[in-house]
């Protein structure tokens, strides 16, 4: 009697794990502010679902709440990979409303944006702890990748044993320096792209299917 119960439990556990393995992987798009995370999220969502995820802006901290697009089905080589894309707020160690004043923003709006951006960083870190199965780490390839934020975030991602792809974005800009990003994170694969122009997205999708499929 006990044996049969054990076997039944064991079978139902196996079935449960079988189904959970087929759940879409939740892929977090992380990186510092203004790296092009939302532009990439929108590019992926538009390419495979026709919808966008959120508004893009050249003003930092436009994304202040994590946004999710579920069941994005990416087809590669006759196979399809389904992921949930989570666009997260840019992670930083300092938020200062005066930065937004330079973008012709009123002080009250700038202070509010600053507060929301800070909440957004807290949310992004929380998602990283609890809710993502893999990470697309987006960097602006015209900027210096040797920063405390990048080192710390990539370190945390590695500590979680999460699969991660480093995306060197903004290759359409003349100052783009892919090599510098490859050097900063040699332990991970770096893929150059321009999310804005859609350059090299095929390789991005190939790698997403490889890493998160």
């Amino acid at each position: 009697m006990g044996l049969i119960t054990d076997i039944r439990d064991s079978i139902s556990r196996s079935i449960a794990s079988l189904f959970s393995a087929e759940d879409p992987k939740r892929i977090g798009i992380y990186g510092p502010p203004n790296a092009g995370k939302t532009t990439l999220a929108n590019r992926i969502a538009r390419d495979w679902t026709g919808d966008a995820i959120g508004p893009e802006s050249h003003i930092p901290h436009e994304t202040r709440r994590a946004r999710r697009k579920e069941n994005v089905e990416i087809e590669r080589d006759g196979k399809s990979v389904t992921i949930d894309v989570v666009d997260t707020p840019g992670v930083t160690t300092k938020v200062d409303y005066t930065e937004f004043l330079e973008h012709d923003m009123e002080k009250d709006d700038a202070v509010r944006r600053s507060r929301e951006a800070t909440e957004g960083v807290a949310e992004a870190m929380h998602w990283l702890r609890e809710d993502v199965d893999g990470v697309l780490y987006v960097l602006d390839s015209t900027k210096d990748p040797f920063t405390q934020v990048n080192t710390m975030l990539v370190g945390i991602i590695e500590s979680q044993d999460l699969p991660v792809l480093i995306l060197a974005n903004k290759t359409d800009l003349p100052e783009s320096n892919i090599r510098r990003i490859e050097n900063a994170f040699p332990q991970h694969e770096t893929i150059p792209l321009s999310a804005l122009e859609g350059d090299n997205m095929d390789e991005v999708y190939d790698k997403i299917a490889d890493y998160f499929g």
Binding site: V91, K94, S114, T118, E119, A122, D144, Q160, N183, P186
Partner: protein
């Protein structure tokens, strides 16, 4: 070639004082440590080096890799409490400077073997004419990053009175008696987010990541809303 500018690749001799005022070539202020024993082919003439970024196997990679490993170890130890099977050697931590602030603490953990150039750089004061004009000013960072919470004025412009600091502090206290107190309480309890001024925050990413509960809403008066894990309800 113990140090190298991460921006242009210029190399500096160990203990070089040139670095202290930023890279003379590009003005960069980040340098990676490059132990001499790992680089057999030192180029004595820095100007002859091409500004190309170093190869992936170079110490840039190792430097960031070791910094990332440090974070990984920290997270691994604090998250699981499990012993780290591969503890880093003590020499690695000071060998991974990733920001300008790392230059300001040379006194910590002095290495036992220090050559003359290092001791020279540590003991001597750089004369003003050695510092290039327009270079990095060490007071910029330290002054900007330390606003005093006690000087905050909740009324904004109310500090124009010339009756002294105590007076304006009392005025502020009458309007919003516990504003500063609340903010300090927030800072004390949540080292993860420091409210410097309304709209100005400093975030401790490690703390934010480590906390099981997380701050979902901040208010300028220092109040906050947190979400606690479901297991806390039991």
């Amino acid at each position: 070639m113990p140090h190298q500018c991460t921006n242009c690749g210029r190399a500096f001799a160990d203990g070089s004082k040139e670095m202290l005022s930023g890279c003379p070539d590009c003005g960069g202020n980040k340098f990676q440590f490059h132990p001499s024993e790992t680089d057999a082919s030192d180029d004595p003439d820095p100007s002859a080096e091409p500004p190309d970024p170093p190869a992936p196997e170079s110490s840039v990679a190792r430097t960031v890799g070791s910094a990332a490993a440090t974070v990984r170890n920290l997270v691994g130890n604090s998250g699981t409490g499990a012993p780290d099977p591969d503890p880093q050697t003590p020499e690695e931590t000071p060998a991974a400077p990733t920001g300008p602030e790392s230059r300001s603490a040379p006194e910590a953990n002095l290495p036992s073997t220090e050559d003359t150039a290092q001791s020279n750089a540590r003991s001597e004061v750089v004369s003003p004419d050695e510092i290039p004009t327009g270079g990095w000013n060490p007071t910029d960072d330290t002054d900007a990053g330390s606003p005093d919470a006690a000087t905050l004025s909740p009324n904004g412009s109310s500090t124009e009175t010339d009756t002294g600091e105590e007076r304006s502090a009392e005025d502020a206290g009458e309007d919003r008696p516990d504003l500063t107190e609340l903010r300090e309480e927030l800072n004390d309890q949540f080292e993860s987010i420091k409210v410097l001024n309304p709209g100005q925050y400093e975030l401790n990413l490690m703390e934010l990541y480590d906390r099981e509960e997380y701050i979902i809403a901040l208010q300028e008066d220092g109040r906050y809303t947190i979400q606690v894990p479901e297991t806390w309800h039991e």
